[in-house]
């Protein structure tokens, strides 16, 4: 058994420190070690995106990243995007536009969408579809997901303008 690694992470603003086997996958660290169960496991092969988190400012599929590769990282999951009293605009928008059904893909979907809108605050429909192609949904057929993201983008831009 290889030596355990000394890991430090910041997850949703909280510092975590522990020893872990190098082969531990980030998704298991989050879900089982830290009980951050928003990100889900859908495919084990980075196709479905249910495990998507934001790691050091990039969308990452946490099911195929070893914990050693994530050492020192700053990670945001769905739990870090909003609170029950102050939801993220996307969390509101997905509900408003029926952008989810079984909900299993939703945490990864919203986490990715939040990053997408940071990268491109005013995407076209085509850019949303392309930018979300790493996240699979089996229930909605995407139409309402795209609608939710475009609506959130408008709302966020309007809020930004109002603030300026």
């Amino acid at each position: 058994m290889p030596e355990k690694l000394h890991i430090k992470l910041n997850v949703n603003g909280k510092s975590e420190e522990f020893l872990a086997e190098p082969r531990e996958l980030l998704i298991h660290t989050l879900r089982e070690r830290l009980r951050v169960t928003g990100p889900h496991i859908g495919c084990d092969s980075s196709h479905c995106g249910a495990c998507t988190v934001t790691l050091n400012g990039k969308s990452v599929k946490s099911c195929t990243m070893f914990i050693g590769q994530a050492n020192g990282a700053e990670i945001t999951t769905i739990e870090g995007l909003g609170t029950p009293d102050a939801l993220h605009v996307l969390q509101e928008s997905f509900r408003e536009h029926h952008g989810l059904q079984c909900g299993f893909c939703t945490p990864g979907m919203i986490t990715r969408a939040a990053k997408l809108l940071e990268e491109n605050p005013s995407p076209s429909e085509e850019e949303v579809r392309f930018g979300m192609a790493g996240n699979i949904c089996r229930c909605t057929g995407y139409q309402n997901i795209v609608k939710s993201i475009l609506a959130a983008a408008s709302e966020m831009n309007a809020a930004k303008e109002a603030a300026e």
Partner: protein, 806 residues
Amino acid sequence: MKDDVELTREDRVANLKGMGCARKRVEDARFTQGKGNYIDDINLPGMLHGDFVRSPYAHAKVLSINTEAAMALDGVIAVLTAKDLEPLSLHWMPTLAGDKQMVLADGKVLFQGQEVAFVVATDRYIAADAVELVEVEYEDLPVITDPFEALKSDIVLREDLAGQTSGAHGPRKHHNHIFTWEVGDEEATNQVMDEAEVVAEETMYYHRTHPCPLETCGSVASMDKVNGKLTVYGTFQAPHVVRTVASLLSGIEEHNIRVISPDIGGGFGNKVGVYPGYVCSIVASIVTGVPVKWVEDRMENLMSTAFARDYWMKGRISATKDGKITGLHCHVTADHGAFDACADPTKFPAGFMSVCTGSYDIPVAYLGVDGVYTNKAPGGVSYRCSFRVTEAVYFIERMIEVLAIELNMDAAELRRINFIGKDQFPYQSALGWEYDSGDYHTAWDKALKAVDYEGLRREQSERVTAFKQGETRSLMGIGLAFFTEIVGAGPVKNCDILGMGMFDSCEIRIHPTGSAIARLGTISQGQGHATTFAQILASEIGIPADSITIEEGDTDTAPYGLGTYGSRSTPVAGAATAMAGRKIRAKAQMIAAYLLEVHDDDVEFDVDRFVVKGAPERFKTMAEVAYAAYNQAIPGIEPGLEAVSYYDPPNMTYPFGAYVCVMDIDVDTGVPTIRRFYALDDCGTRINPMVIEGQIHGGLTEALAVALGQEIAYDDMGNVKTGTLMDFFLPTAWEVPNYETDHTVTPSPHHPIGAKGVGESPHVGGVPCFSNAVMDAFRAFGLRHSNMPHDHWRIWQTAQDLGLHK
């Protein structure tokens, strides 16, 4: 407790958020915040993890299993094999289709990925390590993956059935044959064919695929040895059935078993069956006395739990020269894999395939189905459809297209002249079904007008000319489909699973302050039951949907029901909800009359209150009645306000729809581009238009997947070629178009609120619609039929075979 400001009747109706309201979903708060509670989120103290050793061979003898090295690994608690399960008689289990299936390999394996041993360890990594350390010695046997070959072969796949000339569904013709199922009059059908002016024949293969919900299957079993109680959490579309089966298999009394379906990450039929993983987690918990979790990974899901389809269909359809259909003959060779684990009602070994006369008035018909064993995974579930209805509708919608080619007729017109007429309902089909209601001509005309069908045909014909003149390399396909589904099983007299009648249930308790909880025998997997069932109830009892909690999936609290699949929740449990609501209303009316000091017959229900007839200013709201029900002594009436209804539907419901797909196909790359998809659905009374539209989008996308690429493929050695999402096609946002939805409303005459169910319609109608679009693009060049899935390569191959490449 009256409102200070008197609301208008309209306001009061709106406040209920009842039937017809596009109410936002109550489920979404937890799902959008990452607070869903799915099977893999369940983490009990001291919980162990189970993992399977699986067969790399599709057919082999198991000579020995050595677990020594695995057991020696630190953290491994147990390794179960068939030998360990045999004393409990759990090394085999009954399937839902009346066959039996190995829980763990008993002397041989019959498909790649079959469960051989179950490792239990303190964490999932150790369990996975231990799986690698279990040494299994195999002797490989000849493999059969083709059902036609299976029926000719001397190789016996199921030695355990040796000498059994009869199975759960009648006589067996061969040692690899499972059943023959026949419906209709074959002699009369053949006679009609012999005398017909025109007969069209076609053979088509509806390929094997998989429901592939985003969440795989899993369970957590927890045996509490102190109290003798077993709790099983799992991805169960039918939790009560699981409880009964678990009791029968384990010998634990049913009241000591509690089955809980937590949030389910999509089902689509995958989570109807009973799998070895469920059984092993239960046995392991009983053996170890601590909770045991089993969750399959994606590859295990695609290889071992519940495939769908795999039907070889041979059809003949006869008609007069001017296109009036006179008869239909269908024979199916059904590949069921290694064990017959179809999830169909007992009397229907090929499900409702006998609805294959479709939406057409066909006087004579015959259907014969032969089930066959092969070295492929067991299953045969209804992937987003009601028991083989997708196969039936694909079959008839292809036969119509083939007949149109034979007659040189327009396929839309051929459909129109053969539709069952509005005045023919209730309609008795040649294969024994009574269609409850429909208005097909109206729906079809609306659909064709919406897409400007004639304009599309003109454009298509111009495109063909341009293609022939070398001006374009793109062809245009117009896909048509008109489908009739048969959903909502019961009735109990026809439909049971393992002897359990397919009714469903709802229990309602009204609280003293005028809010309520209702529990049902169904379980949502994304359909939004907590939202929509509250709407049914709001309209029935006048309590706002926002004040009604809907709970499902816990067998200790929910009334017995047969679960959610085959679009049965709204037709059956939805009816039970309305009926239970009406019982509440009946008692509430008596209480209201007492409070208003008038006779029971002198009050009437109006939206959210009981009003004295002719004196609308004198009323009691449902909330006032609820308070009185608990807190006021009323002569002759017991305290409390609750009701339960078990609903056995008198008939199934028959939703229908008209779909049109417009597709452009690049002949040189085989890439199809969906330009337009119009879907008109008639699901009877509409409960929540937003939820309905969401179901249509999702079902169409699953149909797109199946028609255009999704497949569970095997090689000749029985190796699964599509075991990951790299190979198994799930469309992304990039491949999926925007859909146009539309509707007509033809209520079901026998359902309490006229609703028919909708979740599966788009899949049922979508698969033939996308497929017909592909084939229609090549009709002008002589294509009659080509099999799904129409991925880029196959479309390119079709063009190649027709000589369309330079």
